[in-house]
Symmetry: none
Subunit: 204 residues, 4 copies
DNA sequence: GATGAATGAGTGTTCATTCAT
DNA sequence: CATGAATGAACACTCATTCAT
């Protein structure tokens, strides 16, 4: 049971001598996320990003090979941030439902603090860029949880079913709760109920 | 319990008098859906659409006010097709779970026959365009089902919770099953299991 | 004995409906020739051409697929103009030397009246673009002359040698006489002497 | 009778004190020649040269004032190499035709061993850069030969005519024989015949 | 109704060059 | 001496849209 993430080619620009201004890379990163979240994947342009990040358009090409590299690199980074955040404090000795609840709550915390990162993630996922990000090697941060799910299936605690579908149910509520009208939705109660629904979906 | 759909401004889609050459309108419609599905929202241009539809770029402006109008109108149309397809043969006298199963199966039939329509829908949903399509007036095609859900909640058959979240769980598996690796996923068994998960999520 | 000229792909933009403003195509043509002649192949840009031709850069792409198409199409056109001009009044019954003299004089007339066309031609020839212009099908305007050369070789009037080398000697003086310091060189006497040298080179 | 070569402004090439790392200068030189020969004058950029030469773009500016200086200096260098090669073993006591044959053969040797240098030379010659290289002071390497030609003219062995035209005929076959289809052309026989043609052109 | 021509504004990207190190 | 970072300006090209026909 493995869900792993790789990029076929090495995307980011990395000479042996480190770029001097790490701050600039971050500025570009944040500018891109903000813009995609604001105006959408279809309407981000390199020059808009440059303006938002307060650098020259040419500077972006010091840090990224091209626009595609930029967008993919950022996705990968967010994807890993998200996974790391979800797994924070993961305890593999606790019961499956508690593990799950932990991850669920972590996820919501991450989302509410990084709404536009999630936005970016969603848009990227539904774009054709998504097909350029491979799942053959690993960012196996989530691995322990997936392993737990598998053993839960073996122990007949949860349903035995394809990974992706399982994960879809588990996290299906997240985009909804973080949507543009999120303010009325991310109540304690809604989050708790959504969690219970997710659990009911997968449990046997 | 209401999910309604309006467009703030009046889009071409609802011109009461349709232009004469309905064939051309359809060609543009299909060309757009195909292109968005193939190359993504970010890379469809009016002239590409025109080429794909075998019309002049100028012709598109005969049928649609501008590009935004085109994209939104098409979304609305797909959205309604999807709802209509889901509700086909809906019988309000049957038990809720059977209603649900009917809609579920209808939905999968629609998807497997119109994969790129679904692709378009997904991309549109996660883009900021989505915010331009309002929910203050109605496409109330789904209304009978939503009413049934509401009465199901009243009768303590299913959970009482926000519409959007409910709907999210109900249909969360669909994008996954229709994703690019769909061929291995849309088996009879997977579809059935996914349905059971959805039902378990919402039932009390 | 054949020197022919073709372009592998069809370069110029040609819809069934003719562009309205033939004048514009010519303006672009002349602007390009002038610019290449003035600033050199390396430093012509589409926007400079557009400015010189008094059109928008985008307009150029109405008439030519891209910059390469533009440059090649213009070369081909000049090449044919040049050949046509050289062959004007060609009389295949006259003795070879007189044929040759006719063509020689025609060529000089063409050059002195179209110095920058020749400049363009020279620069194109020595650029790598030249390799994109094929010699497998024909602009056989020069064919009668080449045939005459061949029969001259058969009759032992001129040397039997590779076409290209023959042609090189015949026309080698032209670029020199039309060079930037041409004014002091294109005297009647120089032209006559150069012709005699060319003839001496090829005659037996 | 004088053909001299000067550069109006002082180019880096003639810095009396050469930078220490002669190896790097050569790497840049060769990289530039190779690139111009491969992709053409229009498509060489400083950074491409840097990459090809395995140095930083900034390093190029250590050795050359700017791009123009680089291109011109290299031309001058090739021009001198070419002249030196041609004059190797020049014997002013031998008859004019034998002198000429010597130079001719030397030239072909140089070309066949340095095809891309010749390519560079040709492209430079037909570009407007050529006008920046003046003929008021001297690289008088060829001087002895030109003097011999002049005295040949005085002795009525060869025609009396403008230097440039003379030289044009003498060397006109070279670019042809070294063109992209050279392999089929640089046969012993072709070279010999071309020499005879050149001699016939200039001899009285 | 349908179109090709035309374009100003914008696209992603590379340019030649400078500069602090 | 040698460099990577940085950039304003330019690059080739495409965009959404208008308009005369």
């Amino acid at each position: 049971m493995k869900v792993q993430l790789v990029y076929e080619r090495s995307f980011s620009y990395h000479k042996t001598v480190r770029p001097r201004d790490q701050h600039k890379r971050e500025a570009i990163f944040e500018a891109t996320v903000k813009l995609v979240s604001d105006v959408g994947f279809a309407d981000v342009s390199v020059s808009k990003i440059a303006k938002e990040a307060n650098v020259s358009p040419a500077t972006i090409y010091v840090y990224y090979k091209n626009k595609e590299d930029l967008l993919i690199s950022i996705f990968v980074e967010i994807h890993e941030q998200k996974a790391s955040a979800a797994m924070k404090g993961f305890d593999e000795t606790s019961p499956l439902k508690e593990m799950f609840r932990k991850i669920w709550n972590n996820s919501f915390k991450f989302i509410s603090e990084n709404r536009d990162h999630l936005q970016y993630h969603e848009q990227f996922r539904s774009s054709p860029y998504n097909d350029l990000v491979n799942s053959t090697e690993a960012t196996n941060i989530m691995q322990p949880f997936l392993a737990a799910l598998e053993s839960g299936a073996k122990d007949k605690v949860i349903k035995r079913i394809d990974d992706d579908i399982l994960v879809a149910f588990i996290f299906s509520a997240i985009p909804v709760l973080s949507s543009s009208s999120y303010k009325t939705k991310m109540t304690r109660k809604n989050i708790e109920t959504a969690f219970e629904m997710a659990w009911d979906a997968i449990k046997l």
